[in-house]
Assembly symmetry: C2
Homo-oligomer: 229 residues x 2
DNA sequence: CGCAAGCTTGACGACTATCAACAAAAGTGG
DNA sequence: CCACTTTTGTTGATAGTCGTCAAGCTTGCG
């Protein structure tokens, strides 16, 4: 809960370019550090703060009564969290590894939106690109086979993780991938190892995936759309 | 392509309240009428316009190379379409029935956002609530059984359709429901008829569904979240 | 009246979840 | 530094859900 100048912010800026600096808000931010698996906020709680990821990784998810889990998105350094308009969080956010965040009071953010149209543009761009990602996610879950889902996932996160690799070793468990893709952990494991046998990927250490044959994966993905920013 | 004063606008206003009037933009809107099944824009096309639905209904969807279809949302009178920040449409929009739209030039809308913070708020609220809906959709597609999906769908659209019933008879084909729920048309038919045998719904005419036992459906839905606005 | 589009129903098979056992890593504490 | 425990990943056997194919049935419309 202590103020700190943001050492890690430089790498964060690097990812999404200068445009995504949450302009004037930085002055009102507080740096918060979360340990692995710590909950940042829970579904149903008052949305008092919004966040920017500086270092580490976050999963955003929904849970059913009976424990079924669906991950909605993985956030990496540079990404914004909880900039929606709702006063109550509809999702839960958890740190995947030790994670550093910049935290902003939502009331102050909304006040700034009244006058600062640049901030407004940033927020709109964030919401827009989250929506585009969600739409691709919907197509994936609704109409793709297990193999296509894994291929899509690898291609989507490959680029991002290269950029985030500096900050931490790929913090992505099989079960997290499964809960993102709407599959079981076993199925993800099977598909990945089949891809390994076909020479499409390498699995050096567990929780570490290296793409060897990107174009074959693109064929498998069976898709049509322009990948969103 | 002719200007017209919006006769149907009153019922549209009724749905989402006075807040959702796309404030100053109305002056720059043109009323457009689409016949059933007409494409409003295609994925990949330049996003020149944004729209507000005045009457009828629209489906927004994505298609794979091999023809698999996934519907992302159904839009009803009062809903806004294509207010995202991207310059290229990532989705296709089609009229489900004869549909009346108000069409706004995006460049002008974006220009107004520079100064009009009320419009900015409206756009942010629209994007936010679309994102909430998308997140529920992701949970549904990733983790729910066919029966749970249909129950969720009925509950989600029941309220909306009561409001929209005035404008047109439920324009929803089994195949559209199936493509929204990530199921086959046959499965949707089977689940609906099973629900009918259990006295949960009535199926007076094809493409017409009446809910008889809402609370049982809520149990079936197997969910936990606060339904979004 | 007859055709076309959409809906229902059944039979069958494919895909993927579940269960279970084991292997491999990663912590943990002596 | 090494047993020990816990967590995570792999692999196989089995079963269930849902997609596909096909036929027949309704409904609406020309």
């Amino acid at each position: 809960m202590y103020q700190r100048t943001h050492e890690t912010d430089a790498s964060a800026q690097l990812r999404l370019g200068a445009g995504n600096s949450v302009t004037g808000l930085n002055a009102h931010g507080v740096v918060v550090v979360c340990r692995a698996k710590q909950e940042i906020f829970a579904a149903g709680a008052m949305a008092l703060y919004c966040y920017k990821v500086l270092d580490g990784g976050i999963r955003v998810l929904k849970v059913c009564r009976d424990g079924r889990r669906q991950i909605l998105e993985f956030l990496l350094p540079g990404d914004l969290l909880a900039f929606g308009a709702g006063d109550i969080h509809a999702t839960t956010a958890e740190a995947m590894t030790r994670t550093t965040l910049m935290r902003f009071p939502r009331r102050r953010m909304e006040a700034m939106l009244e006058t600062d149209s640049t901030l407004g543009l940033e927020v709109r761009k964030t919401l827009s690109s989250q929506l585009l990602l969600a739409q691709c996610h919907i197509l994936l879950l609704g109409r793709k086979s297990a193999e296509e889902r894994v291929a899509s996932f690898l291609l989507l996160y490959a680029e991002r993780q290269i950029a985030a690799a500096a900050s931490s070793d790929r913090p992505m468990l099989r079960q997290d991938i499964a809960d993102y893709l709407g599959l079981s952990g076993e199925t993800v494991s099977r598909v990945l190892n089949q891809m390994k046998r076909q020479g499409l990927v390498e699995l050096p250490a567990a929780a570490n995936i290296r793409i060897l044959d990107r174009s074959s994966l693109e064929t498998l993905e069976g898709d049509d759309w322009e990948r969103p920013v």
